[in-house]
Symmetry: C2
Subunit: 157 residues, 2 copies
C-alpha cells in the first residue's frame, strides 16, 4: 500500500506493540491524509469507516503512542484541538505554518531558513536543539483583498 505503512508497522512491532485493528486503521487514516491537520475527532470518524468499533479513548491512546514513536507530529493551532500529521520522514525539519487571523486558514510554509538561528543558539546557549515549532500569524492574500473591499473578516470563534 505504501512504503511508510510497512515501515511504521515494522517500527510498532520492533517497539513491542501489537498490530491491532484500531492501530492499523488509524495509521491508514494518517497516511491517507498526509497533507492535512486532522483533529482527534476527525481521525476517529475516518478510522471508524474502516473499523466502526473504535472508541475515542483508543484514538487518544493510539495517537499518543504514534507521537512517542515519532510516527506523527502533534500540532497546535490554538483552536483548542490537538491536531496530528503523519511524519513523512523529512528528518527533523517539518514545515512551518501560516495561520490566517482573518479566516483561520492554515497555509504550509516550505521555507526553512532557521539553520543560521539554530547554530547561533547551539553555540551561544549550549542548547542542543532537537526540534522546533514556528508559526506565523497574519492575514492571507484573500483576507487582505476582502479588507481592501471594506468587507468584514469572518468572526473568529
Amino acid at each position: 500500500m505504501d512504503q511508510l505503512y510497512d515501515e511504521y508497522c515494522r517500527i510498532l512491532k520492533a517497539a513491542g506493540y501489537k498490530h491491532t485493528k484500531p492501530r492499523l486503521s488509524i495509521l491508514e487514516v494518517m497516511l491517507e491524509n498526509h497533507n492535512k491537520h486532522l483533529s482527534i475527532e476527525e481521525i476517529l470518524k475516518l478510522a471508524q469507516e474502516k473499523d466502526p468499533e473504535i472508541g475515542i479513548a483508543t484514538a487518544y491512546r493510539t495517537l499518543l503512542l504514534f507521537e512517542q514513536l515519532n510516527m506523527v507530529y502533534k500540532l497546535d493551532f490554538g483552536d483548542g484541538l490537538s491536531r496530528y500529521e503523519i511524519n513523512e520522514g523529512n528528518v527533523g525539519h517539518h514545515h512551518h505554518h501560516l495561520i490566517c487571523l482573518g479566516c483561520d486558514k492554515i497555509i504550509e510554509a516550505k521555507w526553512d531558513l532557521l539553520d543560521e538561528l539554530e547554530e547561533a543558539i547551539q553555540e551561544d546557549e549550549h542548547f542542543s536543539i532537537v526540534d522546533h515549532s514556528l508559526k506565523f500569524y497574519g492575514y492571507c492574500s484573500e483576507c487582505q483583498a476582502k479588507d481592501r473591499k471594506g468587507e468584514k473578516h469572518e468572526e473568529r470563534k
Copy 2:
C-alpha cells in the same frame, strides 16, 4: 510606580474599561513578574495577596481582556496551562523560547533573525505577517552534562 502601569491604565480607560481592583491588582502582578511566564493559577494567587476577593473567573476574564488590548502575551509551552507575560513594548518582536525536554526549563532566546524569512513569506505567499511564535525543543547545557554522566533525565509529567 511604573511607567508601563500608567500607560496601561490609560489604555484601559481609553478602551472604555473601568479601573477595578481586580484589574489593577492583576496588572501589578504582571508588571512585578515581567520576566516570568505565570499561569492563571499563579497570577490569581499573587493577585489575591493584594485583593483576597478575586475569583478565578475574573482572572480568566481579565487576562483575556489584557491579551486583546495587547497588554500581555499568551504563551503556550505545551504543559496544558495558559501562561501570560506582560508586553513590555518591544513592538511586535517578543522573544523566542528554548524548552528543555530534560528538565522542562524555559530559556529566553534573544536572537531574532527571522526578518529574512518573514520577507520571503510576505513576498512569495502574499501573507501579511502580524506576529509569530517560535519555540525550540532540545536539551539545555545542564541536562547535556547530566547525560554525559549517564544520569537519567527527570521524568516528564
